[in-house]
């Protein structure tokens, strides 16, 4: 049967897309004809994939990422590649080499990041679902800032094959959608084992969200409502948790002391891995080649100096330093210990509760250009990175507004209990519709 196409030629005032496919093919299947947007760090055969970086301008992958193959097999139409912070490095999508994405709720504000394009495309009504990636909050943050739903699956539940790596040990591909049901549908398509990703696990997803949460025990970590969290945001999230209690859940106060070192552990780990992952971008096999007759050594420097944006260069330098001989033990090795402590804290808390809830982000979406100094931007990731360090599932679901901007309720669960966090999110969503 000949493939059918849908026409996709949207006005894109928020600059959610880097590439659109005006005639997107689709076939039969559970997602037949559904327009799905894909973040630009996920390889798409025949469609330019740049990670929003100049260094990959013109790179057209010769193969599909595993998840893209699954989307196509499910009948979906891949309608375009969404904007992002370059290589996923950022919390606002302002670090795109091709210009920022704007927040559809307020175009003077950022959509969050790094999967800002995917979240904005949904919030603006251009698509109903999209794929993002989450290394330290990159699905949940834009979901919260744009007022949509996004899941970071358990590490290993979705194949990373074809995802252009930023920080392999932390990141997962995950679904974003207008609502929890869409997220569940998309998760059902992309989850499961892939022999090409040695870290993937045979845990497919085939769950329809249920709003029955009677008896659900919710841990409330004090750190998620402490200093650094906008009191108005904290208050909206507390109200949302109150709603879950009305539905039959109970809350248990808890603490994650290891969070003190979580952000440092996260940034040492992700920059170290990134410094190695991004070393291959040298202009030899793909991307713009230098127009130079210099020695290879100098040519590499030229390509990389020109091709990477400032935030990427900063993280490569940080990671290179952290792995250097004499510093490895001080930084990388220590970060792995801190990471074990985060895991241990979650294990301890989950012995007594089913899920943990709190705000997704400590504030509402920033104004464009507001976070000009890198450190204050990094601090905004404090509530999302613990789930990545521990590899546990976490969802962000809209739970109200502060000063007209959406706020996200974050629900984290035990390893491979993506279903349970989705049920809790669904129960809330259904109760407030």
């Amino acid at each position: 049967m000949a493939a059918r196409t849908i026409v996709f030629e949207p006005a894109d005032p928020c600059h959610a897309f880097l590439t659109t496919c005006s005639r997107a093919e689709y076939s039969d299947g559970p997602l037949a004809g559904v327009a799905v947007a894909v973040k630009d760090n996920i390889s798409t055969k025949g469609i330019e994939t740049t990670c929003a970086s100049k260094i990959l301008k013109g790179y057209v992958p010769p193969y599909d990422a595993h998840v893209v193959g699954l989307l196509k097999a499910a009948g979906a139409a891949v309608v375009g590649k969404t904007n992002m912070d370059e290589f996923g490095m950022g919390t606002t999508t302002e670090n795109s080499a091709f210009g920022p994405t704007l927040n559809p709720s307020d175009t003077g504000r950022v959509p969050g990041g790094s999967s800002g394009g995917s979240a904005a495309a949904i919030a603006a009504g251009m698509v109903t679902m999209a794929l993002g990636t989450d290394t330290g909050g990159s699905i949940r943050c834009p979901a919260a800032f744009c007022g949509i739903t996004g899941l970071k699956p358990t590490y290993g539940r979705v194949s990373r094959f074809g995802l252009i790596a930023y920080a392999n040990s932390l990141e997962q591909i995950g679904p974003l959608g207008k609502n929890v049901s869409d997220v569940a549908t998309l998760m059902g398509v992309i989850a499961g084992h892939d022999h090409r990703d040695s870290t993937s696990r045979n845990r497919p997803f085939s769950h329809s969200p249920k709003n029955e949460i009677k008896g659900l025990k919710i841990g409330i970590p004090e750190e998620y409502f402490g200093p650094g969290v906008d009191p108005e945001v904290a208050s909206v999230v507390r109200k949302a948790i109150g709603r879950l209690v009305e539905l039959g859940a109970t809350t248990v106060p808890c603490s994650i002391p290891s969070m003190q070192y979580a952000l440092a552990a996260y940034y040492v780990t992700c920059t170290s891995e990134a410094s190695s992952n991004l070393a291959r971008f040298d202009g030899v096999r793909y991307g713009p080649a230098p127009d130079t007759k210099k020695s290879w050594h100098d040519a590499y420097q030229e390509v990389r100096r020109e091709g990477f944006g400032p935030e990427v260069r900063r993280r490569i330098l940080l990671g290179t330093f952290a792995l250097s001989s004499g510093y490895y033990g001080k930084y990388y090795a220590k970060a792995q210990v801190a990471r074990q402590n985060v895991k241990a804290d979650f294990a301890r808390i989950f012995a007594g509760v089913d899920v943990i809830a709190g705000p997704t982000m400590p504030s509402i979406a920033f104004k464009l250009g507001e976070k000009s100094d890198p450190l204050s931007m990094y601090l905004a990731d404090i509530l999302t990175v613990p789930a990545n360090l521990a590899g546990i599932p976490a969802i962000s679901v809209p739970c109200g507004k502060v000063r007209g901007m959406p706020v996200g309720l974050q629900i984290m669960g035990k390893h491979f209990e993506d279903e349970r966090v989705m049920d809790a999110a669904y129960a809330y969503e259904q109760a407030v519709i």
């Binding site: 990959l56 992958p61 010769p62 990373r160 094959f161 074809g162 070393a279 291959r280 030899v284």
Partner: protein
């Protein structure tokens, strides 16, 4: 006192698997064009991920068991980060602080003649990088081309302790290692570039120098000999040896200091996050090792009565050992002694002289030759002639005659039965050399040998030496000598 030489080796061997270490690409690339055995994984395309080839780990563990190493409970792959155009990902997936196996030893024949254990540090598994082809020379070439066919071929690196004391011992270590790997069916030394060696070498009390890029067995001995001379000369002149990395330039037979930039590597090792730790220790018990060189050497001595030296030579190469057993298969008791001598002492020399592979020789032909010699139908001298003709014919791809045909064709058959021809030759020789007869009469020992030589010449080497001696002595006697 002679300065003590200290040598340790790091040997990289390509494992002879069908597919690459982290992808399904075929390893059989040598007869195909550049960049034809590649995929997103071994090209290091963005987003591609490594998947470990189980067979390569099995091969590496066979080696570990054969070399008496201890396989670690948990080993791990790490990234070795450095920039070089042949390295597609800008890191090599290798093993760092948790290798597959540690310890172990390999026994070699020491320079003093006895057996000697060279201790091993570790064995680890890693991927081969691609290959650069420089157009023009490396320093001032116009450009370089890169071929990723080799990228991802599984390698094992075997690191020895600094236990060798001479280039000859290093060569013996390599030969023994190669033989062991071939006996294990995990390595094919005929494949170009399948073995590469880095050597650490020092004179006791001085700094250590690492010599990289040695790609042949002969090269190891050459590079080490050069380097020892260089270091000793420095010390003799009162200079000191710098701790450095040097490259071996095979064509010129010298080592050359690497540029200092290349020595400042900080590889920034860290665990490969795309692969899980390896827990394979339990596989060791299930590995059944084949007969290894030492065991086969013992068997050759016991079963075929080979001397230690012959047995060592014959079993030091898997193909040679198999060849010997094929040659004597029909009549081990009758042929072993002669076959061992002819193969170990003569055939190998003739093959080396022609730079010819043993594969070109039919065992049956050698069996036939040895049988002819055993039945005393030709002299040893003729035997060598037959062998040479046979090898030359094979080398030129002419239709190869059998040894028997060559004997007939050149009329090399011994003249044992026909003493007439010998007698005639003796008469002629004596008559033509009256001075020799006089010398003989005068008791000069050389005279007899001279006459033997003359007779041999006249019979074109076919005269049986025993018969000749007897008849000549008689002939001289009848002339009153």
């Amino acid at each position: 006192m002679e300065d003590q030489v200290i040598i340790g080796l790091e040997v990289h061997c390509q494992l002879d698997t069908k597919s690459k270490l982290f992808c399904g690409c075929s390893t059989d690339y040598r007869s195909d064009g550049p960049n034809t055995h590649v995929c997103p994984v071994c090209l290091g395309l963005p987003g591609a991920m490594p998947v470990l080839n189980k067979r390569s780990i099995e091969y590496a563990m066979r080696v570990a068991k054969a070399l008496n190493c201890m396989v670690l409970e948990e080993s791990e792959f790490s990234r070795k980060n450095y920039f070089y155009p042949d390295l597609d990902k800008a890191y090599q997936i290798t093993q760092y602080d948790k290798p597959l196996a540690e310890g172990g030893y390999l026994e070699i024949e020491s320079d003093e003649g006895g057996e000697k254990k060279v201790q091993l540090t570790r064995i680890h598994v890693e991927e081969d990088p691609g290959r650069l082809v420089h157009m023009g020379n490396a320093e001032r070439g116009k450009y370089s081309l890169v071929d990723y066919n080799r990228a991802g071929i599984p390698l094992i690196e075997i690191v020895s302790e600094p236990d060798m004391r001479s280039p000859k011992e290093a060569r013996k270590f390599l030969n023994k290692l190669r033989a062991t790997l071939e006996y294990l069916s995990v390595f094919d030394s005929d494949k170009e570039g399948s073995l590469r060696v880095d050597a650490n070498i020092s004179i006791k009390g001085s700094e250590r120098v690492e010599v990289k890029n040695i790609t042949s067995y002969k090269g190891v001995e050459k590079a080490l000999t050069f380097e020892i001379t260089r270091q000793k000369n420095l010390l003799r002149r009162g200079q000191k040896v710098d701790r450095e990395t040097r490259h071996f330039l095979e064509a010129r037979g010298v080592t050359q200091s690497a540029r200092s930039k290349e020595q400042e590597h900080d590889y920034r090792y860290f665990p490969e996050p795309d692969l899980r730790p390896l827990r394979v220790k339990s596989w060791v018990d299930a590995i059944v090792l084949p007969e290894l060189p030492d065991a086969r050497r013992g068997r050759f001595m016991a079963q075929y009565g080979c001397s230690l030296n012959h047995a060592r030579t014959l079993t030091g190469d898997l193909k040679l050992a198999n060849f010997f057993e094929q040659v004597v298969r029909g009549d081990p008791a009758g042929l072993s002694g002669l076959a061992a001598t002819w193969i170990a002492d003569t055939l190998i020399g003739e093959l080396n002289y022609r730079d010819m592979s043993l594969d070109r020789v039919e065992p049956a032909a050698v069996t036939e030759l040895v049988e002819i010699l055993k039945n005393d139908l030709i002299t040893d001298k003729s035997g060598i002639e037959v062998l040479r003709i046979m090898l030359d014919q094979c080398l030129k791809n002419e239709s190869c005659e059998t040894p028997a045909a060559i004997v007939t064709h050149l009329n090399l058959g011994k003249t044992t039965g026909d003493t007439g021809a010998i007698t005639t030759a003796i008469e002629e020789a004596i008559n033509e050399n009256p001075k020799a007869l006089d010398d003989y009469r005068a008791g000069k020992a050389g005279a007899l040998n001279f006459l033997v030589g003359q007779v041999m010449k006249k019979t074109r080497g076919k005269a049986d030496p025993g018969t000749l001696n007897r008849l000549l002595t008689e002939a001289l006697k009848t002339r009153g000598a």
